[in-house]
Symmetry: C2
Amino acid sequence: MEKYRVKPGQRIHLKDWDPNETDLLDGDKDEGKERLEALNRDLERLQELLYAEHKHKVLIVLQGMDTSGKDGVIRHVFEGVNPQGVRVANFKVPTPEELDHDYLWRIHRQTPGKGEMVIFNRSHYEDVLVVRVHGLVPAEVWQRRYAHINAFEQMLAEEGTLILKFFLHIDLDEQKKRLQARLDDPTKRWKFNPGDLQERALWAEYMRAYEDVLSKTSTDYAPWYIVPSNKKWYRNYVVASVLVEALKGLHMQYPQPKDDLSRVVIP
Amino acid sequence: MEKYRVKPGQRIHLKDWDPNETDLLDGDKDEGKERLEALNRDLERLQELLYAEHKHKVLIVLQGMDTSGKDGVIRHVFEGVNPQGVRVANFKVPTPEELDHDYLWRIHRQTPGKGEMVIFNRSHYEDVLVVRVHGLVPAEVWQRRYAHINAFEQMLAEEGTLILKFFLHIDLDEQKKRLQARLDDPTKRWKFNPGDLQERALWAEYMRAYEDVLSKTSTDYAPWYIVPSNKKWYRNYVVASVLVEALKGLHMQYPQPKDDLSRVVIP
């Protein structure tokens, strides 16, 4: 999965990243789904170990344009994982109280504790994406934020957090299909928001903003992965693979009982 | 008050800083109390303006050994200020939930919002003070934290927070007197904690840890002031003066009404 990881300092041009590719799977959609099922089982086991060991914290950041599949990844990749140790944090339009504080205030509150896995559905990156594209703060304000974000993530990492960040990469045509599906299917219509069309009109500006995010904030301690996401099954396969690999790399162990339990007799 | 401000990069040796001095006041204790009263009134007015303008955030950090006067500063300097816009955050031994997160997690939650003034009674600096002196984490862990703290405070400052940090400097003899007073006076006895004597025995280690804090984390955006604190009236005078001066420097203004109110008639 190394090919999708953005190296620190690497300058990203999204036109060079094909959202349709499925290179790391020989087979097709069925093969992808089968592999995903095996990964789901791995993830279930690893998350239980994370919870039991109570040592590491895991933070997963999901970013992408509307319809890119953030909700789909949460549903399909984390299917079967015990909700006791996994939490999803959604970051929508900030409340007045949140706006009265710095932009990392509401983010920091939601970071994982030991043994916990937290999925950010959107994140602090919106403060250099939507905030930039819509000019909600002056340029010098959002430009300073890349350094803040790197320092914040470095602190989290050095204090014991595994951070993985995924950009779900789709193209303009794929978004059109997916928005149309939302309009056509009565069971999906609730997800359609006319405001999405205004954001769609700003596609090029968003891509520029994402290119800066990916180029400036992918680090050894908090790498970005650019996930080809036109094919949903491949997207899920890639995210699950990266996650399982990274969790295995923690070499977690069930804690040893403090006392000798071999002589315990349950009365 | 410049003489008490630690310049960025300045190496601090606390033996060169006299906790008894009262150089910036010609008079005595009575003079000090009179000046403090005037500063209390200034502070009251400035805090109301801060609240009304709803633009800046103000963070005051108080650190010092036991009996150095953190509670006394809060009582005497902020006397008369409207509690609606001022909040004290006490950081005691972390709870299990707080220990499950990074050490800045509980700190960040308590930072001020716009128009608010927050006083930290102890702070994130305990994570490079008590934690270091008692060896609660390996050296490489607390050594990394100076950089985290500077980055955190820089972010807060760049996002609109005025930060002022006060080290209340007393010496070993003065602490002895004050601890003895706690034992002797039945109305102060509740403040005496036998654990304070164990900390007192580690005085030299604490001074070394404070010297590192003051040398490594005094910045233009979040300066430390070393406040001579053997004389309580002088300590209060210095803290109040620095605070009033800094708040005046914000050049705050009452917000202008959006509509023309000159023709409004109350029916």
